[in-house]
């Protein structure tokens, strides 16, 4: 890791939507006026006291924030090193951090007078959060989901339908998250007048990466206050899983300018980096342009996008948010990876030691936390983002572990 030398890591993006060389607005002309008007609406909303008051009110009384910062005592004893805390965003309404961002975007869509909401989803958590808030505010909701993911995340498909959303299985390409995003973009190009595209992660064209980050930063702001209250000082390290990277940037961002805090982003290594079957865009990819932004991508020598592989549908994406790409290049965040097997082991460990069944996504973070913690002294304070609960994954895990007996 090269030594960080910048005065601040929190000045991006620039006015053209770039984090260093990453980010930007690589979209079809049809969409350009739409993302410019979205940017204008968001810039106005984020400094409007009434918008911020609405956000705070719904976060407290509908989402159930603040989420607890929980001392994982038995996992800490098991590791015998760092004192491990969980930021429990799995306790949010709808069971993951995704709702923090969706709330912000739906309130924004209402301000803009949009009546139809579209979203892409991988694991289904973003789709469920979007369907939930559309139900709450009486908006039409269409969710694009890869046909492969529809199959492996059935409980979430059912939840979205119960909430009144239309779930469209995407049959193109690899039939996973990237294809769902292509299809959502095709919908948006077609339905420009009444439709708001609610992107679920810190990717896509500017202003999405910055806007989604801002909405997710409630995680890190709370964690900061809570740790100061609990321990009287800031944490020494942060660990979060990364697909597109929204839960991770939400935790990391408020701490980026605190020198000395070690930050770890954990990508999905699938069957292992050397197998070629993984979703680790930073470790195994290189810069390219997809879905409206320049970032690290998994692709071949001709610039054709390759399929990602992960047991976790939420991490199964061949790219990563552009701000992570930049934080990787400047060296502020350490990006590491965990395999399917390591995540499955962590899933079981956390369930048995803490009585918390984590989603497969944060299981990747827990897997690396369990590796790092033993090497740290007992006064080292570590925060792991427990960004989702594992109910949706029990069938996938049962299949891999050979049943529930």
């Amino acid at each position: 890791m090269s030594a960080p030398t910048l005065n601040s890591f929190r000045t991006g993006p620039d006015e053209t939507g770039h984090f260093g060389m990453f980010g930007g607005r690589f979209v079809a002309e049809t969409l350009m006026p739409l993302i410019l008007s979205l940017e204008e609406a968001y810039e106005a909303a984020k400094v409007d006291p009434s918008f911020l008051k609405d956000m705070a009110d719904y976060l407290a009384h509908y989402v159930g924030r603040p989420s607890p910062l929980y001392f994982a005592e038995r996992l800490t004893e098991h590791c015998g090193g760092a004192k491990i805390y969980f930021k429990r965003d799995e306790l949010n309404h709808t069971g993951a951090h995704k709702v923090n961002n969706v709330l912000g975007q739906i309130l924004l869509a209402r301000r803009m007078g949009k009546t139809r909401i579209i979203a892409e989803t991988g694991a289904g958590q973003h789709g469920v959060a979007t369907a939930t808030l559309c139900a709450r505010f009486g908006l039409q909701c269409v969710v694009y989901m890869g046909a492969v993911d529809v199959e492996r995340q059935k409980p979430n498909v059912f939840r979205m339908k119960m909430l009144g959303a239309e779930v469209i299985p995407v049959q193109s390409g690899s039939k996973t998250l990237k294809d769902a995003m292509n299809e959502a973009l095709r919908d948006w190009v077609t339905n420009v007048e009444n439709t708001f595209y609610c992107i679920g992660t810190v990717a896509g064209p500017h202003p999405y990466p910055a806007m989604v980050r801002d909405f997710q930063c409630v995680i890190g702001r709370e964690a900061r206050e809570q740790m100061l209250e609990r321990e009287g000082r800031l944490p020494n390290s942060l660990v979060a899983a990364i697909g597109g990277g929204s839960n991770a940037i939400g935790l990391f961002y408020p701490f980026l300018d605190d020198p000395g805090i070690e930050i770890y982003g954990v990508e999905a290594a699938g069957h292992g980096l050397s197998s070629g079957l993984h979703a680790a865009s930073l470790t195994g990819g290189r810069p390219g342009v997809l879905h409206g932004n320049r970032t690290y991508l998994l692709m071949n020598d001709d610039g054709q996008i390759q399929d990602a592989h992960s047991i976790s549908a939420g991490l199964d994406y061949p790219g990563i948010g552009p701000e992570h790409a930049w934080l990787h290049d400047v060296g502020r965040v350490n990006y590491i990876s965990a395999t399917d097997e390591e995540a499955l082991n962590a899933f079981q460990l956390c369930s048995r030691l803490e009585g918390i069944i984590p989603a497969l996504e944060p299981s990747h973070a827990i897997a690396k936390a369990v590796e790092i913690a033993p090497k740290k002294p007992k006064d080292h304070l570590m925060v792991v983002n427990l960004c989702g609960r594992g109910d949706k994954d029990i069938f996938t895990v049962a299949e891999h572990l050979g049943g529930m007996e």
Binding site: F26, S172, R186, V189, T190, G292, D302
Partner: protein
């Protein structure tokens, strides 16, 4: 500086008609057949040729062109082969403009400077890159203009009066008006609006305006030709490729002729409209 595209639009105008711009996917259904298809286009009535650079994630394309791109990739098409195809076409046709159309990533990965050098020397005249709006002009548009290639921009129904000048700055060759908000292969709901849209764009530029999306046959081509300087057809041609394939998806002896027949049909519609020669 007059380019091959400028000269072709001028020549067609002198003939008192609109130009026919034909899109086919490079390498679809295989490199050899694709070259045969492209070589047959001018005689069938194509005035300008757009060759698609296949990409795995064509976010502005409908099912037909998505499928054409996948067929090409599965048959081993890549950027080098697409450029080689242009070079082979140029050996027998020095006048028909060739425009490469696609998405930015394969160009970015090839390397912008290397791509422009190779494209120019292969005989490419212009580029249409769907996901490079004016906001990203420094990426490829400005270097392409410097290298002597036309950069053809898309204007759409969402491109309003305020934005149109920005879209037209740095545009050269012609303006491609996308007649619907939607993906390729979408139907035009109201052909009556196309004329007004073309007139609006012509109020801002002296460049020819070609209209795409929604041209399926001679009749729809004729309607568009009444108001536009050029008629673009793509989905109907890649559908002709698909329909000519055998059960295993391979080219048949009739594949190139199937596309040529479709082009002849559409060209007849375009040529029914007499325009004032300037």
């Amino acid at each position: 500086m007059s380019t091959r595209i400028d000269r072709r639009f001028e020549a067609v105008k002198q003939q008192g008609r609109a130009a026919l711009v034909t899109f086919v996917m490079g390498g679809d259904p295989d490199p050899e057949t694709s070259l045969a298809i492209v070589k047959a286009l001018p005689a069938a009535g194509a005035d300008l040729i757009e060759i698609g650079m296949p990409f795995t994630d064509p976010m502005a394309d409908g099912p037909a062109i998505q499928a054409a791109g996948l067929r090409a990739l599965q048959a081993g098409q890549n950027m080098r082969k697409t450029l080689a195809m242009v070079r082979a076409f140029r050996e027998t046709d020095a006048d028909t403009p060739i425009i490469l159309m696609g998405y930015y990533n394969p160009i970015y990965v090839y390397g912008v400077d290397a791509f422009l050098l190779d494209a120019k020397s292969a005989g490419v005249d212009g580029l249409i890159v769907v996901d490079l709006p004016p906001e990203e002009d420094s990426e490829l548009c400005v270097p392409a203009l410097t290298a002597g290639l036309n950069f053809i921009r898309l204007a759409t129904p969402t491109t309003d009066e305020k934005r149109l000048p920005k879209v037209l700055t740095n545009t050269s060759g012609f303006v491609y008006y996308v007649s619907v908000t939607g993906i390729t292969g979408s139907a035009i709901a109201d052909y009556g609006k196309v004329g007004a849209a073309v007139a609006r764009i012509k109020g801002h530029t002296h460049l020819p305006v070609a209209v795409g999306f929604g041209v399926k046959n001679a009749d729809t081509a004729e309607i568009i030709a009444r108001s536009a300087d050029g008629v673009v057809v793509g989905t109907a041609l890649v559908e002709a490729v698909r329909a000519s394939l055998d059960a295993s998806g391979k080219a048949t002896a009739g594949t190139a002729e199937a596309v040529a027949a479709k082009v002849r049909d559409i060209a007849s519609g375009v040529r029914r409209v007499a325009k004032a020669a300037a």
